[in-house]
């Protein structure tokens, strides 16, 4: 068991998510940075999809009730065990009674803590991931609170303290991020000027950036072509008849600030989407801090599939390394 002394800003139990319920408004949830959670799990001998803790910006303070093997990947947020900094992307041993806390992130927004055996909350709809809007999964369907106690499963014993990610399999975070986007959906509703400027301008992550979506600001507005609005579509040119929203889709309410929906997405609504972030780049979004800059790069569906193959190949390398 792990006792939560301080919960941090938004710490939640996440695995790789649940599929098959989006048509009922229940999004996939799961780690926003799927690679980082998988890596942390491999380092402690867990299957890639074991449940861990997603720690956003301000990490939690945790007291371990028993000996454990732990690893932290993702954001560069120093893990301090009884005050002593641990090496990132490396498994380390924790003794019963020791306290783990985190320093501030120097790059990235979400650190993933895996513990050997995994966080053993019950599966709901096939996953241990927390979906807070629906009060579903995770620990009591919500982010962690002070005083919570997290159950831990049985370790596999496959890895030991010191197991470490090779440099080639570590993530480069921070700086200006290039996010690849397949234009489509209602992209044709933008004016020609807006269709261009979306991809040429630099965009800055705003303060409203969470598991549901990331709002970007700091660039000029994107106008939609004026039209007589179809019945049921709402009055603004950025409105459509409420439709489904793809995970990673980009909407621009009133043409002002693009919002990228992430794994806790609202499943639908009445704003035109102008394209979708490719699956291989969704991890990058979840690691962006407020005020960090992004540029969007238009790619084809074929390029998106190629990027996905590279991403999966890297995940495969991880799995083989710790098999």
């Amino acid at each position: 068991m792990i006792k939560v002394l301080k919960p941090g800003l938004a710490t939640s139990v996440q695995d790789l998510g649940r599929e098959g319920y989006y048509h009922l408004g229940i999004p996939p949830s799961g780690a926003l940075d799927q690679y980082a959670l998988s890596a942390a799990n491999h380092l402690v001998g867990n299957p890639a999809g074991a449940a861990g803790l997603e720690c956003a910006l301000v990490g939690p303070e945790l007291e371990f009730q028993h000996d454990a093997l732990v690893a932290v990947c993702g954001a560069q947020m120093p893990a301090l065990l009884d005050g002593r900094e641990q090496r990132p992307d490396t498994a380390f041993a924790v003794r019963a009674g020791q306290v783990l806390r985190f320093g501030f992130p120097t790059a990235g927004a979400r650190a993933y803590l895996a513990v050997a055996g995994g966080i053993d909350v019950p599966e709901v709809l096939g996953s241990r991931s927390t979906y807070a809007l629906g009060a579903l999964g995770g620990l009591h369907g919500r982010k962690l609170m002070g005083g919570d106690v997290l159950p831990v499963g049985v370790p596999s014993g496959k890895t030991r303290a010191g197991a470490s990610l090779p440099m080639a399999l570590r993530q480069a975070l921070g700086g200006e991020v290039v996010v690849r986007v397949v234009p489509g959906l209602y992209f044709h509703r933008l004016t020609d000027a807006a269709a261009q400027s979306f991809f040429t301008q630099a965009w800055t992550v705003g303060s409203e950036a969470d598991r549901i979506g990331y709002r970007y600001k700091g660039a000029s507005a994107l106008s939609f072509q004026p039209r007589e609005q179809p019945f049921g579509a709402g009055s603004d040119p950025s409105n459509i008849v409420d439709s489904c929203y793809p995970i990673g889709s980009i909407q621009v309410p009133a043409g002002l600030e693009p919002i990228i929906l992430h794994r806790d997405a609202v499943s639908g609504g009445g704003y035109a989407m102008i394209g979708t972030v490719i699956s291989a780049d969704l991890d990058l979004i979840g690691q962006m801090q407020p005020n960090q800059q992004a540029r969007f790069l238009a790619v084809s569906l074929e390029q998106a599939l190629e990027a996905r193959r590279s991403y999966k190949k890297k995940l495969g390398c991880l799995a083989r390394l710790f098999a």
Binding site: F231, V241, C244, G268, G269
Partner: protein
């Protein structure tokens, strides 16, 4: 009905490498919804490997898929095949559900007063405003129109288990109300909302931009699955369900809430067949035959 939705091909667009998005029509109509439902049901029947989720919306749908298991172009071809097969479908086996509603309740009233600065008309309530912009004499007339004809659940989503609903009336009689100027940060659980031409029931407490008309005592989403009608699934509504609202008074509402708390509240649910052609031929009389199924 203006455009021949049935014969207009669906517009497809990929939402990157994991979603196929399909716009049946850019405007809302019962025919557009019906066609989307027929196609998505046909896609489900195909049982395609790699399809993760078939999500139906009001006049569109979306398929979430795993491109490692089904190539995007193969999926598109299969869905186009389902579209060709499904356009002939004109009737639907479904269920009609009576949902009790306390209109003009104290809880949504308290909430709407708290967010009056975000409303088009701060000097009236959401119900008064909705009655006026729809050319109805007063709140009573609006409630009579709202509960006078059944509604189709045309989408489930936004958040877990929230039904969007489209009323079974001719376009001229559709109730239309703009959303709040700026969304509220709070909406009571189980509020009856309305935005544009869509009604909804807020399945959970939270942010919202729809006008608020009342509350139902009937839970429609419950991860604990306490009530009988939530045993099969924590989400009650499915697209294609037909809903009939029944105005209730405060005493009946309080009794229903007590029944919910004791775990023996239930809903009136009956099987029904909906015929699109029968509706189009007699949009006033046909919905009454559906209401009679509940009697």
């Amino acid at each position: 009905m203006a455009e021949p939705v049935a014969s207009t091909p669906i517009r497809y667009s990929f939402g990157a490498d994991e979603h196929l998005f399909a716009e049946v029509s850019d405007s809302m109509s019962l025919e557009a919804f019906f066609k989307g439902m027929a196609v998505t049901r046909a896609v489900e029947r195909l049982g395609l490997e790699g399809v993760l989720d078939v999500c139906l919306a009001n006049a569109s749908f979306q398929i979430r898929f795993d491109p490692d298991r089904i190539a995007p172009q193969a999926l598109l071809e299969a869905v186009r095949g389902a579209e060709a097969e499904a356009v002939a479908e004109r009737s639907l086996q479904t269920r009609i559900i009576e949902i009790p509603v306390l209109y003009n309740d104290p809880w949504t009233h308290e909430t709407l007063m708290r967010f009056r600065d975000r409303h088009q008309d701060p000097s009236s309530t959401d119900l008064e405003y909705a009655a006026r912009v729809n050319g109805l004499a007063d709140v009573e007339a609006f409630i009579a129109a709202h509960s006078g004809a059944p509604w189709f659940v045309s989408m489930v989503g936004f958040v877990a288990g929230l039904p969007f609903m489209f009323q079974m009336v001719e376009r001229e009689r559709q109730l239309q109300v703009p959303k709040y100027l700026r969304p509220r940060t709070d909406t009571p659980k189980l509020t009856l909302g309305h935005g544009g031409c869509f009604g909804c029931i807020y399945s959970v407490r939270g942010a919202g931009g729809y006008q608020m008309f009342g509350v139902t005592p009937a839970p429609i989403y419950d991860p604990q699955q306490t009530l009988a009608y939530l045993k099969a699934h924590m989400v009650f509504f499915r697209p294609g369900d037909i809903v009939q609202f029944k105005p209730i008074d405060r005493r009946t509402y309080d009794q229903a809430v007590a029944d919910v708390e004791e775990g023996h509240f239930n809903l009136r649910i009956r099987p029904v067949t909906f015929s699109l052609d029968a509706f189009l031929a007699d949009p006033v009389g046909y919905p009454k035959t559906l209401q009679e199924v509940l009697a």
